[in-house]
Amino acid sequence: MPSWPMNQWYVAAYSDEIKEEMFARTICGEPLAFYRTSQGQVVALADRCVHRRYPLSLSHLKDDQVVCGYHGFTYDQGGRCVAAPGQKRIPRTARVPAFPVVEQDSLVWVWIGDPERADAELAPRAPWLDAPDYTTVRGMEPLRARYGLLVDNLLDLSHETYLHGGYIGTPEVAETPITTEVDEETNVVYVSRHMDDAECPPFYATSTGIQGRIARWQDIEYHPPCLYLLHSRIAPVGAHPPEEGPDDQAFHVEVVYAITPETENSTHDFWMVARDFALDDQQVSDFLGEQNRTVVLQDVVALDVLEQVVESEKENYQELSINIDTGGLAARRLLKKLVEAGTPEPLPVGQA
């Protein structure tokens, strides 16, 4: 049984990564071949020709169909073989699995599980990423660690103080208590840390131009398994959101992560930073992109080490959890619930 939930949407790529050419990426242990049709639709097929296993991602497109680069087996957008070399009869089993895809908010989501259960409405939203009143910088770093370690990392931002000092970490992050909520029906974890008088880290001081101390609110919204939203509000101390009307004394940054398992021990760490200020300022974009990539790489180094530690530890090693872990524990529990819910019921004895 995989460690990730089945029958879920996972972010496979950014929209601009998928063009009218073959693109390979492994999602939840499934090697997939993606391409975009001439009509703009994204297609995801298992990356293995049914004939002699040649990767379709190393093949080429002709008339929106994939022509295997080894012997020419040709597949349509549904994965059905429509041409085989040298013969008219196409075996009925000549088909590669096609994976349901949803493209929205500049993200390409792929359904991992039973295609019959794929419901586009279940893919969570991050509308800032392609909204005209936000500017977004983004990247993706490969992580040689299991996805759960990144979930732990992002649900407990007190680590910013120690791992990311000089970038986004200040003493107040680790010192400020959090409030955690879990919605058991919609499967959302919310972790809130409101610092009303805090040092302004360089990440926000340079990008916003704010001088002095700030009110810094961090509101995490985690939609397990894949989508993590950090609603970050930066304002001068004492500037509260108005009862009505726009919160125009504050700067808003939507930090989005897509946490997509690649294998049991590796993860695609998609990161995005969307802001509602300095929309056309390329220097601010460059600064936030470079800073956030540096922060992500600090996490990557730490989590890659942790993966080695976890793999080498004795069975039943006991961790210690304290108050800062309240949100992370909630996320782990929801993930466990989703893993159990997404696992097919075992067949009764004799029917297997």
Partner: protein, 88 residues
């Protein structure tokens, strides 16, 4: 105030850091870290509360708690709004 002084009263109200509420609905559990203490306060959706200094113990209490709701509390629950996100 120490945890020993706090005890576990039948009904507690934490000194809440903002925001006071983020999610709504009848299936939302809430854990507030009481300001200036090491105490966590868990709120079941039915309004019952429990204090702990151990988040694992507190989640276990919250998850076990719905099983203890009497029929009256359970019957009253559906009148709560459907779960959705609330602007904090």
């Amino acid at each position: 105030m120490t945890a020993a002084e706090t005890g576990t009263p039948a009904l507690v109200r934490a000194d809440l850091p903002a925001p006071t509420r983020m999610l709504s609905g009848r299936s939302v559990y809430r854990v507030v870290w009481k300001l200036n203490t090491d105490v966590l306060v868990g709120y079941c959706w039915c309004g019952e509360t429990h204090e702990s200094e151990d988040p694992i113990e507190l989640w276990e209490w919250l998850l076990a708690h719905p099983d203890q709701h009497d029929d009256g509390a359970a019957a009253g629950a559906p009148s709560a709004p459907a779960p959705d996100l609330v602007d904090a």
